[in-house]
């Protein structure tokens, strides 16, 4: 039951020539024209084809229009309304969802007697509906192309009907020439056209057939129309396994057939193309044989073995199509349509091996892409540093994360345990540059911070002392100092950094340490030069020279300092600070690990670090040219961050034995993730200023936010463990906590305490009172096993053992948890937690000074709090910078429904 079409076909076929498939005369009606896909594709098709869409339908949206570059396409509720409005069309395009396609075809066929063909774009049409669609079209004499296809296009007529052949720029791929394309793959229809151009071949008509079980316009139909199209001298046919459409075709002109899908026989289910599943005789190999028979070739064409005949060639890789076609056409005496355009060699457009050394054949450098892409890539390249999308950052962090299982926090991918093993100066910049500082960077950082610590003559010192004298804890003293380091105090340093980044951004400098870099092409205008140079008011400030000398003494290298040195003037302290910051930030900035914003604000953090450490040193020790008796040159030229911190806590420089535990303490304390109170304080402060206008965010105030969110419970409680240990060891006659030959019977001490504690516990139970908590023992996560360990404590213990270091307090804690269990005071062996480690390390560090009376118990408490603040200052900087880059204004608010009211 089929309508009579072209003679000789046992079914209806109406399209006689490829020249008729997509013409400028075709008038098109698009069903579901306002659907997601049509809305983006149809305007391009319409404009490319000279405005061939007469109307579209979208039930319920009649009266709307689809805007296109060449005018609006009217939309009707249905086809009848459109026809009644006076529009006429002969071609239907179906963009309906799968369940609606069959009915859409019926509508087109029944309502419009002038209909000639339909292009079905929709994929995932059920076989059931495809059967009926075929039957309807056959009975009514309609040609259908598709489904699950991208329609048809004609490079001569500059028309495309239906889908998106040629993408959003059809003129790029649809180049006029002599080759017709028929492809089971919509994507490859365009891709093959583009590949052909690399050998100088253009196209006539392109048919994307789809690859469902039912291919309504199939290879035999194409072969017939191809034979009748004088423009088409050759054809390329792309086929996949499944179906007998390509069998027994008598091709009348040369054809290159590409059969892909041998491997697909290993799949038991179709992926992508529903019809690309072979049965018993329609596998990829079968199809290759059909074509080889039709072309009279004994094998497949490959570049190594180019088997062709004048009738055609069979390839299995679409990249071989251009060469095969050229070879076939040479036998027919035909030359390509135009000069080759481009080639198909591997051309990376963008690449970054992140410093890895790949083998040369893999590490091919990026090449310039064709226009307009090259221009777009260049514009991307002009972007300096990373760009991070903003989102609500309440309780979230892109800087730190705590593993709930191990309770170990990582900051920018480095666990605090690993950080505890790094020198302090190596971790100070981590929150900002996201990398552990190199030797050179450490030297630079030490100088930068050292230059900020001495606050003599600065009102900060007066304020900090006043805060201290008023009985405040160290966090409030630090906060007082930080509050004064406001935007104006860093205005010029940040300006200098901005200027340096601007000057060097596109200079090709990759490494900030590269003093050999030729900066002669970088021109600095007078205003910028003036920004870098010291003013007359700064004439008395000895620090710029001292800093430069110190950097030279430490062997620090900086392309920026070298550049500034060439400006021919006395540099300001701000300019040197900016150059140091830029040197440290440059690599990560160029590698897009950090944003430009982060790099530009780095000096603020460095200044804050120095001032906050400096403020913990009482005012009387700040003298002109010396700090706690340490001359400036020595401090600038030799001292490290750890030395300065130790000085602030004890008034002296640490020995290497003392520096290590301090470094470990600070490392362990850096962060406990975004949920910790201190992090919340910092994040809230940023959020309240509004990170979406980053220039208004006061980083010093965010530091104050962190500091106000620490206190005797959060931070100060490090002292509780020390107090507990002091009580145990006060009369023990201990002289050196690091000497294993201390002569104490720790087990007996622990057992005695455990007995007492057990009695206390029993009494408390009887009285119904709270039993006292033991600081440093037990943990809500690491519990319940016969013997428990805090992995952080284990990590430190193992490291200390490897280093041959001993800590009597730590050893006592280990005895204590065992004794508590042995004496029945605990149901199992509790863990020694990380707080115990911190208390043990710190008490050991300060023990001698305490015993000698240099430090009081109150000093110990202050020291415990202070060391916490030093560590957390780094973690807070990470959260502040992260929130500044990623967060939204006021995003730390808790929505009212999540809040509770309590009576």
């Amino acid at each position: 039951m089929y309508h009579k079409g072209i003679e000789g076909f046992p079914y209806f076929l109406g399209l006689r020539s490829l020249a008729d498939i997509a013409t400028r005369d075709d008038r098109v009606c698009v069903l579901n024209v306002l659907g997601g896909e049509s809305r983006t594709v149809t305007p391009t098709s319409h404009a490319f084809s000279g405005g061939n869409v007469v109307f579209g339908t979208s039930p319920g949206r009649g009266g709307q229009v689809l805007k296109t570059p060449v005018g609006d396409i009217p939309v009707y509720n249905n086809v009848r309304e459109g026809l009644d409005a006076g529009h006429a069309f002969d071609t239907g395009v179906v963009y309906l969802p799968p369940s609606g396609v069959r009915d859409g075809v019926a509508e087109l066929v029944r309502v419009n007697p002038g209909l000639r063909k339909i292009v079905i774009i929709t994929e995932k049409i059920s076989v059931h509906d495809a059967r009926e669609i075929r039957a309807m079209a056959q009975a009514n004499g309609i040609d259908i192309i598709g489904g699950n296809c991208l329609g048809v296009a004609d490079s001569w007529n500059r028309v495309r009907i239906g889908g998106a052949l040629g993408g959003d720029k059809p003129e790029e791929s649809l180049l006029k020439g002599s080759v017709a394309i028929f492809s089971n793959s919509g994507g490859f229809t365009t891709t093959i056209a583009q590949y052909l151009a690399t050998a100088g071949w253009g196209t006539t008509t392109l048919v994307s057939s789809g690859k469902d079980v039912y291919i309504h316009y199939a290879a035999p139909d194409f072969a017939h129309a191809f034979g009748n199209d004088d423009r088409s001298k050759a054809a390329v046919l792309y086929a996949e396994p499944g179906g007998y459409y390509e069998q027994g075709i008598d091709w009348t002109k040369p054809v290159v057939a590409c059969v892909v899908g041998r491997w697909k026989s290993k799949l038991t289910r179709a992926v992508g193309h529903a019809g690309a599943m072979a049965g018993s005789g329609d596998s990829a190999e079968d199809k290759e044989r059909w074509f080889m028979g039709a072309f009279g070739v004994p094998g497949l064409f490959t570049p190594e073995n180019p088997v062709v005949s004048a009738k055609g060639a069979v390839v299995t890789n679409i990249a071989d199509i251009p060469a095969a076609l050229t070879a076939v056409m040479a036998l027919n005496g035909a030359a390509p349509d135009f000069a080759p355009r481009g080639d198909l060699a591997l051309k990376p457009w963008v690449a970054n091996d992140q410093g890895l050394r790949l083998p040369p054949e893999l590490a091919m450098p990026a090449v310039t892409a064709p226009e307009p892409y090259a221009g777009q890539i260049a514009a991307l390249g002009a972007q300096v540093g990373a760009v991070v999308a903003r989102q609500n950052m309440k309780d979230k962090s892109g800087a730190s994360v705590m593993d709930p299982k191990t309770q170990v926090t990582s900051v920018h991918g480095h666990s605090v345990l690993d950080l505890a093993l790094e020198p302090l100066e190596a971790t100070f910049a981590l929150p900002l540059v996201h990398e552990i500082a190199t030797e050179n960077d450490r030297a630079m950082l030490d100088v930068a911070v050292a230059a900020e610590v001495n606050l003599v003559g600065d009102p900060i010192l007066v304020a900090a002392d006043a805060a201290r004298e008023a009985g405040n804890a160290p966090n409030a003293v630090m906060a007082t100092a930080a509050a004064i380091v406001g935007p104006k105090r860093v205005e010029r340093a940040l300006g200098c950094t901005r200027a340096l980044i601007g000057l060097f951004a596109h200079s090709g400098l990759r490494d900030g340490r590269d003093e050999e870099f030729d900066a002669s092409g970088i021109v600095c205008d007078d205003a910028t030069r003036a920004l870098f140079l010291a003013t007359e008011a700064e004439a008395a400030d000895p620090r710029p020279e001292a800093m430069l000398a110190a950097i030279a003494a430490r062997g620090g290298r900086s392309a920026f300092l070298k550049f500034l040195g060439g400006l021919g003037g006395r540099l300001s302290r701000d300019a040197i600070l900016a150059a140091i910051a830029t040197t440290i930030a440059w690599g990560p900035l160029m590698r897009k690990r950090i944003s430009r914003l982060t790099a530009e604000t780095l000096p603020w953090y460095l200044r804050l670090y120095g001032v906050m450490v400096g403020a913990t040193i009482p005012g009387e020790h700040h003298r002109s040219g010396s700090l706690w008796g340490i001359p400036r040159d020595e401090r600038f030229g030799q001292w490290t961050m750890a030395d300065l911190c130790f000085l602030a806590m004890t008034g002296k420089k640490p020995t290497p034995e003392e520096a290590l535990p301090l470094q470990m303490l600070v490392g362990l304390l850096i962060s406990n993730g975004p949920g910790s109170i201190s992090a919340q304080g910092a994040k809230g402060a940023v959020s309240a200023d509004g990170p979406q206008t980053p220039a208004r965010v006061q980083i010093n105030k965010a530091m104050v936010g962190f500091l106000t969110h620490t206190g005797y419970s959060h931070g100060g409680n490090g002292f509780e463990g020390m107090a507990f240990l002091l009580e145990q060891f006060k009369d023990a006659g201990l002289t050196d906590p690091s000497d294993p030959a201390h002569g104490l019977d720790l087990k007996a001490m622990a057992t005695a305490f455990a007995r007492t504690y057990r009695r206390e516990k029993a009494q408390a139970k009887e009285l119904g009172t709270e039993v006292r908590a033991l600081p440093g023992v037990h943990h809500p996560v690491f519990k319940g096993k016969p013997v428990n360990h805090d992995p952080r404590e284990r990590f430190i213990a193992e490291f200390m053992a490897r280093q041959g270091k001993y800590n009597v307090f730590h050893a006592f804690y280990r005895e204590l948890v065992q004794a508590l269990h042995d004496q029945g005071a605990s149901p199992y062996v509790f863990c020694v937690n990380v707080d115990a480690v911190i208390a043990a390390l710190l008490l050991a560090l300060l023990w001698k000074d305490f015993k000698s009376g240099t430090l009081t118990e109150r000093d110990l408490e202050t020291a415990a709090f202070t060391v916490f603040l030093y560590g957390r200052m780094i973690g807070a900087a990470a959260e502040i910078d992260d929130h500044l880059n990623r967060g939204r204004n006021m995003d730390t608010r808790t929505p009212p429904p999540a809040c509770g009211f309590v009576v």
């Binding site: 896909e37 983006t40 594709v41 994929e123 995932k124 059920s126 076989v127 059931h128 495809a130 059967r131 039957a135 309807m136 889908g163 998106a164 993408g167 959003d168 791929s173 793959s185 919509g186 994507g187 490859f188 891709t191 583009q194 079980v213 291919i215 996949e240 892909v260 899908g261 491997w263 697909k264 290993k266 799949l267 289910r269 992508g272 193309h273 890789n317 679409i318 990249a319 481009g342 080639d343 060699a345 591997l346 051309k347 990376p348 457009w349 963008v350 690449a351 970054n352 992140q354 410093g355 890895l356 893999l362 091919m364 892409y373 972007q383 990373a386 991918g413 690993d418 897009k592 690990r593």
Partner: protein, 427 residues
């Protein structure tokens, strides 16, 4: 989605009143089996395979029993039988006991959509019960028919006459076979095959066709399959947990077709376009973890969800994340790359970094913006990458990805792990 055997076949045939042999399931008691033998004399014991595997008879996987002892022995032999046919492998879980139908005539009947005709096509022979490929062409009728009117009685009658079928089977077949079109067409099947249909004589000597084996394929894109109320786990053998998860996102906007090729592959290749899928699957071979087609312009959310599932299942073992497609026609590169990049960022946030090299080959709308977005993500994750535009041959890009995989296996993975601060590479 294939269904084999009479356990469910007899139920499905019941929908259109087509006679079927009596069948007992794996949980049949000894009394019921004994009763079945008593009434029919001969029963067949067949393993229950999920999905579709053929040639069970040839593989000796069909047991015959005339007494309970033999039936139970066959049950034990076949209950967990394994069967490989072509690329399909199946493991049985249970057996059926099917009544033997004494008959003189065995008929083969099938309907499928034949691409020779582009129409539903009936295949029919009165010389059934054997492999159809073994028969002489003249004994087989292959008749396309019109889908709108369906399989009509006269089509069956003409076909049987053409192949010279015995007179006595014509009338009963003409009466019953058209029902099978109803079953096939209205319940979302793509193929239906009954072999054999045994012609059981009634008291009056009149023959009744009785289906003694059943095979069908379902169209996963046809909601009519749901009308049968078949339990989902019937088709579970077809798909892995990963595929199951991805399939839940299967909608018409944007493909989400996946197939796990090699559970221990090392290249994870989200592929765009059916053609690209064929080519990529071909060139990557066993190195690929999945064969996929995510084209069809998926929206951001869907792309991100699909990518998240892929990463969750396979990223730890992946050496090369390989995003590959031709020059897309309408798939928005920015949206899809953003989806995949954000999913990667979230994966790293939740599970920590994993050593990866990222290779991209792509073209299409918003290409450079998409590449820019993805490079930002990769830069922030510290991952090495190399992106190719559409002007590199896609097959060469696939080969490049393979070469990177080789390098990764030969120490590259450890090098990347080191740059990511990982102590040891996982795979």
């Amino acid at each position: 989605m294939h269904l084999n055997g009479m356990l469910y076949g007899s139920r499905l045939l019941g929908h259109v009143d087509f006679p079927a042999s009596e069948v007992l399931g794996p949980d049949a008691g000894e009394d019921a089996i004994q009763d079945l033998i008593a009434r029919h004399g001969l029963i067949f014991v067949k393993p229950v395979f999920r999905g579709g595997v053929g040639k069970k008879g040839k593989a000796g996987l069909i047991g015959k029993a005339r007494d309970l002892k033999t039936a139970l022995a066959e049950k034990e032999r076949l209950y967990f039988a394994e069967h490989r046919h072509g690329n399909a492998f199946a493991k049985a879980n249970g057996v059926t006991f099917e009544a033997g139908i004494p008959a003189e005539h065995e008929v083969y009947f099938a309907i499928t959509d034949d691409t020779h005709f582009r129409a539903p096509t009936m295949t029919l022979t009165h010389r059934g019960g054997v492999e159809i490929e073994d028969l002489d062409k003249s004994d087989i009728a292959t008749v396309p028919f019109e889908a709108l009117t369906g399989l009509k009685a006269f089509v069956v009658a003409n076909a049987l006459t053409d192949i010279g079928a015995p007179r006595e089977i014509i009338s009963p077949l003409v009466q019953h076979l058209p029902k099978l079109w109803e079953l096939m067409h209205h319940y979302g099947m793509t193929t239906l095959e009954l072999n054999p249909i045994r012609m059981r004589p009634g008291r009056d000597g009149r023959l009744t066709p009785v289906a003694c084996d059943f095979k069908c394929g379902f169209d996963r894109d046809d909601p009519r399959v749901g009308r049968l109320g078949l339990p989902d786990q019937l088709f579970a053998a077809d798909i892995s947990a990963f595929e199951q998860e991805v399939n839940q996102l299967r909608t018409h906007q944007g493909q989400s077709d996946v197939f796990v090729i090699n559970e221990s592959g090392t290249i994870l290749a989200p592929t765009f376009g059916g053609g690209a899928n064929s080519l990529v699957t071909e060139v990557l071979g066993e190195a690929a973890i999945i064969s996929s087609d995510f084209g069809g312009n998926p929206p951001y959310e869907k792309m991100k969800a699909v990518a998240s599932i892929c990463y969750r299942h396979f990223l730890p073992q992946t050496n090369v994340l390989f995003i590959i497609g031709g020059k897309s026609n309408n798939t928005d590169i920015l949206e899809t790359f953003r989806g995949m990049g954000d999913a990667l960022r979230e994966y790293f946030a939740a599970h920590g970094p994993t050593p990866l090299y990222v290779v991209v080959g792509r073209g299409g709308p918003n290409l450079v913006r998409g590449m820019g977005n993805l490079t930002e993500t990769l830069e922030s994750l510290g991952l090495p990458y190399r992106f190719f535009g559409f002007d590199s041959a896609i097959s060469e890009v696939v080969n490049y990805a393979k070469r990177v995989d080789t390098w990764m296996r030969a120490g590259g993975r450890d090098e990347i792990a080191a740059t990511l601060g990982l102590k040891a590479a996982a795979a």
